[in-house]
Point group: D2
Chain length 278, copies 4
């Protein structure tokens, strides 16, 4: 039966890669629906994302691609199915709400397995959508003890990504390393400006004329992970920092949802501390 798959290849660059890879597809009589490549010349690294349709055996296709690419090649043949995600939140509803509405409309491209909150503020909203909400407070507890409880909860589920939809606690190295390239965060500034706490207040005090939002993979370095998407909105002297915070929320939620759509569609390669977006 005719199938469809996203083929993602990431390997050392070399002459003839496009030819050799497209030959694998051609020999199996596959259609190329969509094809994008990029060579990072600085690091001599080749990236390719191809959507193929036709009759193929996924394992056989994967083996054939491995045979003609460098040994370091990272190859994925992904048959489209809804991914699974876990959301982590604190008190603000805008980013969570935007994802819930898309989810309810089957427009998210992922199933929300559960929402974890370090406050119970958003429990009512989540339950309106018949999605499990786990309230795991951090009071009177070490950061490590709290994260252990969160990880116990997370590990009950199968999931592809953890989405921090305005989760306002800093994660430890242990947590981050447990889920490499699987945690996506929205930071409420135009990174790398205004790293850290209360970026809107920092922006207000600096007197900038534009504020922004940044969705990124979470790595061990706070607010330093590979950036997936950014956007900005103009501000002026009439806005207090609270006004900026309010105005910035639309940007935050849209950037997070945009990044999530890219990730869920397997359009993002992580390349060192950067991303390649196809």
């Amino acid at each position: 039966m005719e199938k469809r798959a996203r083929v993602l290849i990431d390997c050392e660059d070399g002459k003839g890669l496009v030819y050799k890879i497209s030959k694998v597809f051609y020999d199996r009589d596959l259609n190329i629906d969509n094809n994008r490549e990029f060579v990072d010349k600085e690091h001599a690294r080749f990236f390719m994302r191809t959507v193929v349709t036709g009759l193929f055996d996924t394992e056989e296709l994967l083996e054939a691609l491995k045979a003609i690419t460098p040994v370091d090649a990272h190859i994925r043949v992904i048959e489209p199915k809804d991914k699974k995600i876990i959301l982590m939140v604190t008190k603000e509803s805008h980013a969570l709400g935007d994802i819930l509405i898309r989810h309810a409309d089957a427009a998210l491209g992922a199933k929300i397995e559960c929402v974890i909150g370090n406050h119970d503020t958003l429990e009512t909203l989540v339950r309106r959508f018949d999605i499990p909400f786990f309230y795991i407070p951090a009071n009177d507890m070490s950061r490590e003890a709290h994260e252990t409880r969160v990880m116990q909860c997370i590990n009950e589920f199968e999931f592809d990504y953890i989405v921090l939809a305005k989760y306002m606690r800093i994660l430890t190295s242990t947590f981050v390393k447990a889920y490499p390239q699987k945690i996506i965060n929205i930071h409420h500034s135009f990174l790398p400006a205004f790293i850290g706490a209360n970026p809107y207040k920092q922006a207000y005090e600096r007197g900038v004329k534009i504020i922004g939002a940044t969705a990124h993979y979470v790595t061990d370095d706070l607010d330093e992970g590979p950036i997936i998407a950014q956007d900005v909105i103009p501000v002026n002297h009439r806005l207090t920092w609270r006004d900026m915070q309010r105005a910035g929320r639309d940007g935050e939620k849209i950037v997070l949802s945009r990044a999530l759509a890219l990730v869920l569609n397997d359009r993002v390669f992580v390349n060192g501390n950067k991303t390649i977006i196809f």
Copy 2:
């Protein structure tokens, strides 16, 4: 007791208006928290929006302002309280959902009295938020008969604005005239480009590089009412019109919510077929 009010004045321009109006405030020892004026020189028309705080009697203040402004002056002294709105929808959830989430978070600045749909697609979503949903189908019915039923439903409520959150039917002149300057629509194009049906398909066929969304007051002329807010997003040759439609939804919902915030905060004056936004 100290009060706060938005004073909106719209009258024929004349020398000394700022002086005379600010004297009224000064004589009553009111604080001016915020003040914006504009003179439309083409039509010799003066617009002013001032936020005052202090001890005042609303009726007395209104009379005092009337006494020193031209006879044609349209003056409002509005004490802040949540407005009431009615939503009209068809099948798409994004604009409605964005408003529902803000409403649930008390961030809308208005109470949603009810949602009216000509399809029942969105009933489940609305009911999740404990808001009345009225399904008024238009099948086997003249446009007039359908609107009569809708108006009967609307007229059961007190409300300030009717918000068409992707309501996909054209309203008759009778309907529009029944609620002057009270109906706000989101049109899924950068008006005046692509008036009428399926603007995304029109945009696709024209090969534009940017698509947009427009929030406007509804008047008797289809898609021709005063524009409140517009925004755009870049597109390219890789997007089908369905992709554009999907991509455009974020713009639509943000522009509608932005326009709604302006209107609900009494920041919009209608000036002929245009708006003045303070």
Copy 3:
């Protein structure tokens, strides 16, 4: 000696095109520096732009590519060299000036052969840069007679493109057909809004909140040719149409220069009434 070329292919879509084309490059031991493809599924048309480096004979490469592509294929192997352009202007200096400055800095990627004006307003500016200026007034002359004189002037030069840098006369069908896909215009609106005369006045009267500029190929239908680039800027009720015109000029010149860079780098395919931009 190692050479570099841009290979542009535009043909009926079919299975294995990427494979067959990359095989031609592989067999000749060419490096692919950059490769982009697109399939217009609606019209089953394949587009590809590849930058290759290596030892090759341009004619032989072209023949090899023809041999493996459909008969309707339009194939170009372009060795980078500066293109030649002719500018046509009327009175406004901003779009012309932007191009002149880039030209003077060798940042244009083209040699300006001459500037033709239907007014002599800009002669002084052009002569400052030691570029020929031809003043061809249209007074007391039919449109056809004027264009005949312009065409005589143009045809004295070898050139790749005619750039209308705010040339404010409508061209006849005869003129346009004489230089197919060779005339690039900047229109001072966000097409298709405000086609025709004085788009800023139209925008002012409609009360839009955003204005724009559009660079496009000129075809026989006024303001209807394939769009290359567009951009927008926000406006508000405080701007008169003259203010909008002034504010719009920056957008116009930047959009025109951006479109010109794309065209001069052979990054634009015309596909019916649309463009594909790589």
Copy 4:
């Protein structure tokens, strides 16, 4: 004879300021063409910019305004006339060129007194416009010695502003303090991101998806002065830092010219480390 003036007032906030100031205008039978106010509540500071027309004596008007405003008031009554500016440049032509073209078209609103370069690269371009160019090299010279020579040159002229149109040397505290609120710089990043040297390389290495430009007053703290205007452009993984630099130039020149227009029209108040833009 009827005159026109911009009245700029900046003082401690207090009740009745709008009333008292508009009374001064009213008592003199002046027309208010345009009026904008802002109160910085955090610092209890009032700002007002009014354009008045009528018959008035500038000194008398100034005295009358002083009489009714707090003692700390900074009041200016500015009769429109072209300002005078001095440009400082290094090697890049885009920002300089944009200003030269506006100047040649009488669209700058200022007279360029001279251009000073620490390299002679741009001398030819400047001389094309019949504007004096002073080449003051910094080779084999201390920073202080070089600046002394620059200041000798500057001080030969009357001027309102010094515009650093991509002047790539850091100015000493002595220089900056000699011209308070008179030096305007364009920084090639979205400040406060990427302060210091080679912001495009920093942006490339951080993998941001948007780059920007910032026009600001120069103060003693490098890249920390009050921001006048900012803008951004999207980038992606395909751009090298040199590509970003090229792409960023349009943003730089437009932001600088926009900031310059605001400053030359007396629309900018400096408020601590921020600006208020009317």
